[in-house]
Amino acid sequence: MAVKDISKEIQQKVEQARASKTPLNISGGNSKRFYGREPVGEVLDVSEHKGVINYEPTELVITARAGTSLIEVEQVLAAENQMLAFEPPAFGKSATIGGTIACNFSGPRRAFSGAARDYVLGSSIINGKAEQLHFGGEVMKNVAGYDVSRLMCGAMGTLGVLLAVSIKVLPKPEVETTLVYEMSSERSLKKVHQLARQSLPVSATCFDDSTLTIRLSGTEGAVKSAHQLLGGDISSSGLDYWKQLKEHELSYFNGDNDLWRLSLASNTPILNLEGKYLYEWNGAQRWLISEDNDEKIRKEVAQHAGHAVCFRQHGKHEDVFQPLETDLLEIHRQLKIAFDPDSIFNPGRMYAEI
């Protein structure tokens, strides 16, 4: 497996960019180029900075350079019967672990096991002053200093270049079963909330069209007894369904309209927006394919205290993420200055102001 440390070269390039005030477009596998606002600046390729630095199965932690392929990380873990518990989507074979963390992408297990940010234990970064810094570590509990490693999750490279990340990993479940139920979206939401209040080995739920799909994960006995309790038919597509769901390969995701990701309290009622829906995470993540305009979508979602991301755009959108209110935007601006005073990292990739 490929191993290479080019942190010094990356650092030099950041130093040069800083001196010449050249914006940098940080790029790993380039699989998430579609996500966020339009990348600008000179490409800073970090894909050659790769390799698993340390993996200790009994310590439940893996440390890998940011350019390490996500598939490789998952293979290394699978060989020890372990996994990334946040089940990240890759959106392409070239996806890297760095890009995954920078986007905080998490899959179907998220509502039950946590997001990428929940599993990050430590990071090495280069800040806007071209300094190589290290935060957190490889231990489960660490409250020394501010939690910079989690702050990097979802910051889309706007605060620094990720060089390496340490991630908590978990054992793979012994057994998994996928169950399907024919029912309406209202009844599905009701059912998943009822299940969530019980001690059950549910690890994913999805409602698409008129089918509720539920995954059970755990010991053989636990999955068997939960299936007896819940009833339902075993899905013919089995576990492939969840892979297709997270990679947006289900037929739902086909088409030429904008794909919106709506993040809401799980018990938010059916929204008053036209379009095709797919519900994940017990209703806390809803995909919407709609012809409604941005303003209408954001307004409806904001009314329910949620936020909307234009996940895949087919038209032009000024904002991809839900605009921040003034005081929060100011904190974002100040944090950007704290990490990247010359604004060289992915400027405008997340919000125009940072």
Partner: protein
């Protein structure tokens, strides 16, 4: 050194002006400034550090907190927020020139949402009170620091508190959704949301564990979990602590994540047994407590597997609690370990390092050697599953010089944790106590980055000044005797 990053922490507060301004916004019973009234606030759970504040403000409304912050911002007065005052690192140690802001009266549970499985609570609500309120819905709040009967949720967020169930259920940061925070300027902001994520940077993670340095928490939305169908505890005895440590690794290697996995060494076992009569084996060098929870079926399967693993790892005895009463008794000894040690020594000092678990034998060896060197006994209590070590150093504060010796010994233990790739604090926070050891764990550029973050929220440096992140000057003084990762620390600044 970057000039905007350093605050000298010297303030010159006009006491009369401060009191008269605060009296405009607070009723008489919410403001204390006579010396005898200030006394109860002079320390938190780390009583070795004491300092009287200039005034104590005990507001009852968020609007009052905002007013207090506006006044202090305008007058440039430092503010130290305080919850239940149970913290163990001096994070709520008052500032002599400042306001001690007590959130104790914010003690209402605003709502429990059973469908979304969340609770909205004020910061002064006790940790255990949340689970008690949720219990009738068969829900609970997972993080359970050992002080949970007294500690408040606001303090838990400020410290990113853990507990005995972290390995499976995470820390505070994994179990909260939303915060309402009053900024240093007195603005009320909302961080996070009722959804599983929020737009923008992960300020929720940044705020959690920030030790009162970035804002004042005035409301917390926590996640609730369904109570497990069944919980079971296994007690295993070992004639060697190293074997107990290996057993922990073997359980995890088998693909089992216990709800709790605790280790105690001989001195801790003796003290606990003497105190609560939990039935611990007194001839053991170490015991492990392994809690398994989940559905009936999976707990049954795991109990059998874990018993086998423990026996194969060299346990001299393995007992499964025969009923709920015995399960609670097994835990009682562990939960009472600190006060139990308090009975066999006039004073004890609790350390909080975390290490990669496989380095346990060498760290325990180092602690044993230091114990001889400093001539002070140590009882070890260990969150074995997640590598969080709580050595308790036994000392007598009335013997001249013994506290100083104890602190030096403690500092050395933390430095040995850093040396094996661990950290100086797993769950108690840096506060005032471990400020010097921060210089060992972080290099100067990293500390400057922390100061820059602080500056983004609090440019005047009024919130909890002097805590959590040391100035480079402080590190230079301390660091003169220390080497970081084989390099001389702070080569760029003047030596004293």
């Amino acid at each position: 050194m970057s000039s905007h990053c350093e605050h000298e922490h010297t303030f010159n507060t006009n006491r009369d002006a401060l009191i008269s301004a605060l009296r405009q916004v607070l009723p008489d019973d919410s403001l204390l400034y006579e010396k005898e009234d200030l006394r109860p606030y002079e320390c938190d759970g780390l009583s070795a550090y004491r300092q009287l504040p200039m005034v104590v403000a005990i507001p009852t409304t968020v609007a009052q907190v905002q007013e207090i912050m506006r006044i202090c911002y305008h007058l440039e007065v430092p503010v130290v927020a305080r919850g239940a005052g149970t913290g163990l690192s001096g994070g709520a140690l008052p500032h002599e020139q400042g306001v001690l802001l007590s959130l104790a009266r914010f003690n209402a549970i605003i709502n429990v949402d059973t469908e979304n499985r969340t609770a909205v609570v004020q910061p002064g609500v006790r940790n255990l009170a949340i689970s008690e309120a949720a219990a009738r819905h068969k829900l609970y709040y997972a993080p359970d620091p050992s002080s949970q009967i007294a500690c408040s949720i606001g303090g838990n967020v400020a410290e990113n508190s853990g507990g005995v169930h972290c390995l499976k259920y995470g820390l505070t940061v994994h179990n909260i959704l939303k915060l309402k925070v009053v900024t240093v300027e007195g603005k009320l902001i909302t961080i996070g949301s009722n959804a599983l994520d929020a737009p923008g940077y992960d300020l929720l993670a940044l705020m959690t564990g920030s030790e009162g340095m970035l804002g004042v928490i005035v409301e917390v939305t926590v996640k609730l979990l369904p109570l497990p169908e069944r919980t079971q505890v296994i007690l295993a005895a070992f004639d060697d602590v190293v074997k107990a440590g290996t057993a922990v690794g073997n359980i995890i290697a088998a693909g089992i994540i216990p709800a709790g996995l605790e280790m105690m060494d001989r001195l801790a076992i003796e003290a606990a047994e003497d105190f609560v009569h939990a039935g611990y084996p007194l001839d053991a060098q170490a015991i492990l407590l392994c809690e398994l929870d989940g559905t009936h079926a999976e707990v049954s399967e795991y109990v059998l597997q874990v018993r086998d693993i423990l026996l194969n790892s060299g346990a001299t005895e393995v007992r499964t609690a025969k009923d709920e009463q015995e399960r609670l008794l097994f835990w009682k000894g562990r939960k009472a370990a600190f006060p139990a040690v308090g009975r066999i020594s006039p004073d004890y000092y609790c350390m909080d390092g975390t290490i990669p678990r496989k380095r346990l034998p060498e760290v325990l060896q180092t602690i044993a050697e230091l114990s001889k060197e400093y001539d002070l006994r140590v009882a070890n209590v260990f969150h074995a599953g997640d590598g969080n070590l709580h050595p308790l150093i036994l000392y007598d504060a009335n013997k001249p010089g013994e506290l100083e010796r104890t602190e030096e010994f403690g500092g050395k233990i933390l430095e040995s944790c850093v040396a094996v790739g661990g950290t100086i604090t797993g769950e108690h926070g840096v506060g005032m106590e471990k400020i010097n050891q921060m210089c060992v764990q972080f290099k100067s550029q990293e500390l400057i980055q922390f100061h820059a973050i602080k500056n983004a929220f609090d440019a005047k440096g009024l919130l909890n000044p002097g805590k959590a992140v040391p100035t480079l000057h402080r590190c230079a003084e301390f660091g003169a005797m220390h080497i970081h990762h084989g390099e001389m620390p702070f080569p760029d600044i003047e030596r004293f």
